[in-house]
């Protein structure tokens, strides 16, 4: 059994990993330096651990101990396996962009179906072009979070998606992250920019290829949503049951823009989603919702920080967790209302449904209100399925299993209903249904 490595050992291992990976990390001009700085920041803090408030419930240092070596470039066989998984998870009508083991795979992607309103390049390509080097600081930006710093240092590829002012992209763009490896780590980073009044919907799926196991995926997305723009970002993560998925989103939203976020985690030994959303322009609307579906001994941690930086913004958050067996779900929802953010209207509800006695839920809304004249509400509950409801349904003809499924679907339905596109809502519902049907 793998024991927790002493911190010093883990650091030495990580040092080696960066040194070994360096030659394979794309980037011209200042990029290597930016990476080295990011890696230093990571090294000083080390893997996130429970001493860090943000990672209190997901102590990566204890849970995973070490960072695994960088995944090799996918070969033809890996791409063939990835193709199967990417096809399985493809959403109806979406334009697929596939990343395999941290590398963009154009041959598995629907580049030909991209609308002219959107420009897509690979991160690798952008970081290698001298002209784009001016953007490198933004593309590889970091926060105080050490997982994000590690991602900036190690990102091998990703997508740079831009939608110019006034352009509306009709079909959703689905970024499919496929892992094919055994005991390797992958780092992807994408960047999304919506100009003034632009519209787009991005769906991200994380899936393993058949046989992939024990991998660690670390993804980050940075999004700038322009004034009056509309972005839907929907994420469904289903890592292998012995794999780690860490996804970070850093988003800034301009005046009168609307951002709809949805995140669902339905598998993965350790999954962590952390969204840092800054409402940077007045009159912005944010709808941020999500579901954790957790079973066996899996662990899913979702953290969403909403930063109300300016007046007159509105944020709505609904989160639900369904936990079976010995699973554990964490939800931390932080709302920060800065002194300037008068007339902020923010609500957050988080509810957990415990399907077994060993299931565990940590449900933590945190409000930090530094402004006057705001309306902020939050609520957190957790409990089991109501037997009286189960019996009512059974007495009308539903089997016990179907009765429970119907009630669980109703429970998670509220955040899913917030997804505005019927197509994407159906996609998410189908994924949730798949999880439910697999219940014993």
């Amino acid at each position: 059994m793998k024991q927790v490595l002493a911190k010093a050992d883990a650091e030495r291992a990580t040092d080696d990993i960066f040194a070994e990976a360096r030659g394979r990390l794309p980037g011209a001009g200042p990029v290597p330096q930016i990476r080295a700085r990011a890696f230093d920041v990571y090294k000083r803090a080390g893997l996130p651990h429970r001493g860090m408030e943000d990672w209190k419930y997901t102590d990566l240092r204890a849970l995973i101990g070490e960072v695994l070596p960088l995944a090799p470039q996918p070969d033809a066989q890996a791409l063939a396996r990835a193709k199967v998984s990417a096809k399985q998870v493809a959403a109806d009508q979406a334009v697929k962009l596939v990343l395999v083991d941290g590398m963009f795979a154009p041959e598995l992607s629907d580049l030909g179906r991209l609308e002219t309103e959107v420009v897509v390049r690979s991160l690798r390509e952008v970081l290698e072009t001298p002209a784009a080097v001016a953007m490198a600081g933004l593309l590889l930006s970091t926060t105080s979070d050490s997982a994000i710093s590690l991602n900036a240092a190690m990102a091998t590829d990703g997508l740079v998606i831009t939608v110019a002012d006034g352009n509306a992209v009709k079909r959703p763009i689905q970024i499919v992250h496929v892992a094919t490896g055994l005991s390797v780590s992958t780092y992807t980073r994408s960047y999304l920019q919506l100009g003034k009044g632009a519209h787009a919907a991005i769906l991200e799926s994380f899936v393993p290829a058949e046989g992939a196991s024990g991998y660690q995926a670390n993804d980050a997305i940075i999004a700038l949503v322009g004034e009056e723009a509309r972005l839907s970002h929907i994420r469904v993560a289903a890592a292998a049951s012995d794999a780690v998925n860490i996804s970070s989103a850093i988003m800034a939203v301009g005046a009168r823009a609307k951002l709809d976020l949805f995140t669902m985690t339905c598998s993965g030994s350790i999954s962590r989603y952390q969204g840092f959303i800054t409402l940077a322009g007045e009159g912005t609307k944010l709808s941020a919702n999500g579901v954790n579906l957790v079973r066996d001994e899996l662990h899913a941690d979702t953290k969403i920080v909403v930063d109300h930086a300016v007046p007159h913004c509105n944020s709505r958050e609904k989160f639900r967790a369904v936990i079976d067996d010995c699973g554990r779900s964490v939800f931390q929802g932080r709302i920060l209302v800065r002194p300037a953010a008068r007339k902020t209207d923010a609500t957050l509800t988080t509810r957990a449904l415990l399907l077994s006695d060993q299931a565990e839920a940590d449900n933590k809304p945190e409000l930090e209100i530094l402004a006057d004249d705001v309306a902020c509400r939050h609520g957190a509950t957790s409990g089991a399925l109501d037997d009286a409801l189960v019996f009512y349904l059974r007495a009308r003809g539903l089997s016990e299993k179907d009765a429970r499924i119907l009630l669980i679907k109703a429970f998670i339905g509220e955040p899913i209903e917030e997804i505005t596109s019927q197509n994407l809502r159906d996609f998410v519902t189908a994924q949730a249904e798949h999880w439910l049907q697999a219940r014993r």
């Binding site: 009512y392 007495a395 009308r396 003809g397 539903l398 009630l407």
Partner: protein, 250 residues
Amino acid sequence: MALLEIHDLHVRVENREIIRGLHLNVNAGEVHAIMGPNGSGKSTLSHVIAGKPGYEITGGQVLFRGENLLRMEPNERAAKGVFLAFQYPVDIPGVTTMNFLRAALNAQRKARDQREFSTPEFLKRVREVAGSLKIPHDMIKRGVNVGFSGGEKKRNEILQMALLEPSLCILDEIDSGLDIDALRIVASGINALRSPARAMILITHYRRLLDHIVPDIVHVMSKGRVRKSGGKELALELEACGYAQFEDAA
């Protein structure tokens, strides 16, 4: 063979005997009324017939068309035609009445090897039945019983019954919480379902319901047993004299 035969039934709840040697025979086409004081075990009996978990059957038999009902799952009983209109129907937020009805109807039809209803067929049936019970369409699109008044919940039970077309209908205080007009609507909904193939058991405290739905047989239940059975005039007698005289009879 009677549709429902209950023979010497004994039921315990949390180590207390609630049903204590109950006999009841109900034939197809009959309407029975069960009256009895609070706590006499009427709802317990209805739950045991419907298959609610948590009751310990310590003796006796419950046969439905000659089959041992007690060995069946609640959903099997429903598919075979047993329906209980609950004294206290629950709310199910997030499940619309429409989806609930469809899931229930199709689950039962599937269990009986019948084909499932198509959406238009189903919608047509729901509209017809809801119309006759004066249930507005927007109520059906809401979560099951969510925000419904007591009377609306009872009407919703009858809607389910009419749609599911059971052969044994147990109505536990279907009249409680209904105003005079609602009582008339619900009663005519129930009367419309009377048929030679179908039996009904009305559990009630009030004769008024039995003025609308005239029973063939009235039973007085007390302390977990049927103490007396008679014709519809027994209800009048009860109203005049109360239950005291039956406590230790039989």
